[in-house]
Symmetry: C2
Subunit: 397 residues, 2 copies
Amino acid sequence: MTGADEPSSVGTGAAEAAENPHQNGVVSALDSPEFIAAEVSTRIDGFLTSKAAEFLAISPDADDIGQALLKFTRGGKKIRPVLLWWGFQLAGGDRSQGSLTGSVADAAGSLELLHAAALIHDDVIDHSDTRRGKPALHRQFESRHSQLRYQGGAEPFGVATAIVIGDICLALSEELFEKSQTILGITPLARELRATLRRDVMVGQYLDVLAEVVPLEDERIGERAWEVLSYKSAKYSVEQPLLLGAALGGADDDQLEEISRFGLPLGQAFQLRDDVLGVFGDPAATGKPAGDDIREGKRTVLIAESMKNLDPKQIRILAARLGNPNLSAAEVGECVDMLTDSGGLEAVESSIRGKHDEALSAVREWAREGSQSRTRIGPNAQKQLTRFAGALSFRKS
Amino acid sequence: MTGADEPSSVGTGAAEAAENPHQNGVVSALDSPEFIAAEVSTRIDGFLTSKAAEFLAISPDADDIGQALLKFTRGGKKIRPVLLWWGFQLAGGDRSQGSLTGSVADAAGSLELLHAAALIHDDVIDHSDTRRGKPALHRQFESRHSQLRYQGGAEPFGVATAIVIGDICLALSEELFEKSQTILGITPLARELRATLRRDVMVGQYLDVLAEVVPLEDERIGERAWEVLSYKSAKYSVEQPLLLGAALGGADDDQLEEISRFGLPLGQAFQLRDDVLGVFGDPAATGKPAGDDIREGKRTVLIAESMKNLDPKQIRILAARLGNPNLSAAEVGECVDMLTDSGGLEAVESSIRGKHDEALSAVREWAREGSQSRTRIGPNAQKQLTRFAGALSFRKS
């Protein structure tokens, strides 16, 4: 618990929007995603640097842990931190009062560390080779094993170190959140929301692992796909960061409910888009091979929707191919066609539009003159939320 | 955060000793390990049962998580909970005041959940088949995969689910600790100690993984063995539970230092004994095959001490055999003989006696009439600590 406790310097350039964010309880503008991402990155870097020094003090051998985490957490879109920050501002939290910027950034950064931990373990579970354009963490340590001519198997060494470093990252996420709380105030509501967020993504991950091994014809395929989508992603990536930020900003249960009306459907649209991109995304934009989700065997809502209109023969073919990493491009292509021809893709696109509209109608209500909602926003904030929602729902990568 | 918040019923039988534990600042007696283990088990069970209901509410598929954790956490020696509890009492904490029993049990139980999480991941890392006389968690899920004729590989499914369930167990450990804190009071010192404990075991685990792949002739073998012993076990299993409990019981830095003088050497003796049993233990008592640590390739202090007196040819033989799971009984036997003939075993036994004596001399000082130490104990408490220390240092299993 040393270092990096100074409040960050704020008030220039990108921060300007939030200098006077509240007028008569109306949030006129939110901090920009770029400003938030920069603040959060600075805090994470400072925190991990101090932790790396602690590890090094334990043993010279432990230095690699801190360095690996510093590298791993640089980059990424910082979606969850932005949403936590905005939740804080939407609930009337004013980071410029009492030099709260650093603590809000710590709380937001703690979600980024939780996410990093989840990705590190996810990549082990999915046997993924790359992450954010670099080798996955377990592959990095696997390579190091070979380069340094260590003994034993390189691959199990990569897996072992990635499991442990993921655990450490999870622990550091807790620690950074606790650090933020000493200044923001430890509210039971925030603690409960944080625990729920953490629980949901992990249970969602378990359900995802299970969904991939259950026979495709299982009657719960549709429910299961929605459970995975909601818990592993929609809630965890969008709704809950907003709610946690709002709780830290002073929201009560009623306001949290209002914010959910925006956050949950937007989170669902976000993940439905992810499912679409996982099959139909342009490899040049997504950085993943075409039809990647087919080879990985993901049981998405897209698959479940398509199943409704496939005949038994098609279902047998799809079942045999989902999760087979050695499919040819032609075999993947046939599966992709099935998802289009069955109307599955169109059903999901329609769902995305519906969820996106639902989210925006909540925002419109917050901006409507004479609205009785707790959350009140001005035209600039409305524009920011609308643009962000559009980017999540209709992104290309 | 529901259920299981009622203070446990206490005051009968085994609890009697602590009904009036403080006389003039002298701790006359500590609760018995049996009483503590029973209280902690009850709290963990209640907590996990309420969590299992939450998981089930998310999805019927998630029910297995809670059930697996309930089964996994039953049993075990509960050494860390007992030590946390005793630390609380040694610092003058009185659980009977303000119905603190349940909260002290929650704090203690949170260490047990942290330990369960570490074991679940440890067994994946070490490819262990059994834990506490039952199949390791990843093997349980591997078997289920086969029984239910799931798709894909059974072994990767076992690994994937064990990684996720270990993560969930880690998160639940945080949650149970937070729960205890709402009544015990959230002190910065306790939070810091908890973070240190969590960090040390994880960094120790990393160092352990690394130690097994570094060439045996590496010059840091001795330091490294002591680092692993201290961080992965001695501090985490003995010293830090005592310190955390003491902080919750109101100890200041000076008293924590006093308690370390007992806890750290005892923790070292505890792990040195573990190293000895890992090679020389009676399989009937330890439940592990003879020479298990040789086949696993553990780079213990016992190995490092033995290396000092082995000739280059012997070192080559040992280096080739350590970590080879397919050694014959005769090959293991030759290694075991080297550890004896080199004087390694005797050096470690001597170290254990020294560390054990060091721990007991701290306890004697606490019990000495006219002592100026913060920690003061009566003859009964001294007897309990002495007996427990002997059991840790000279146990057979």
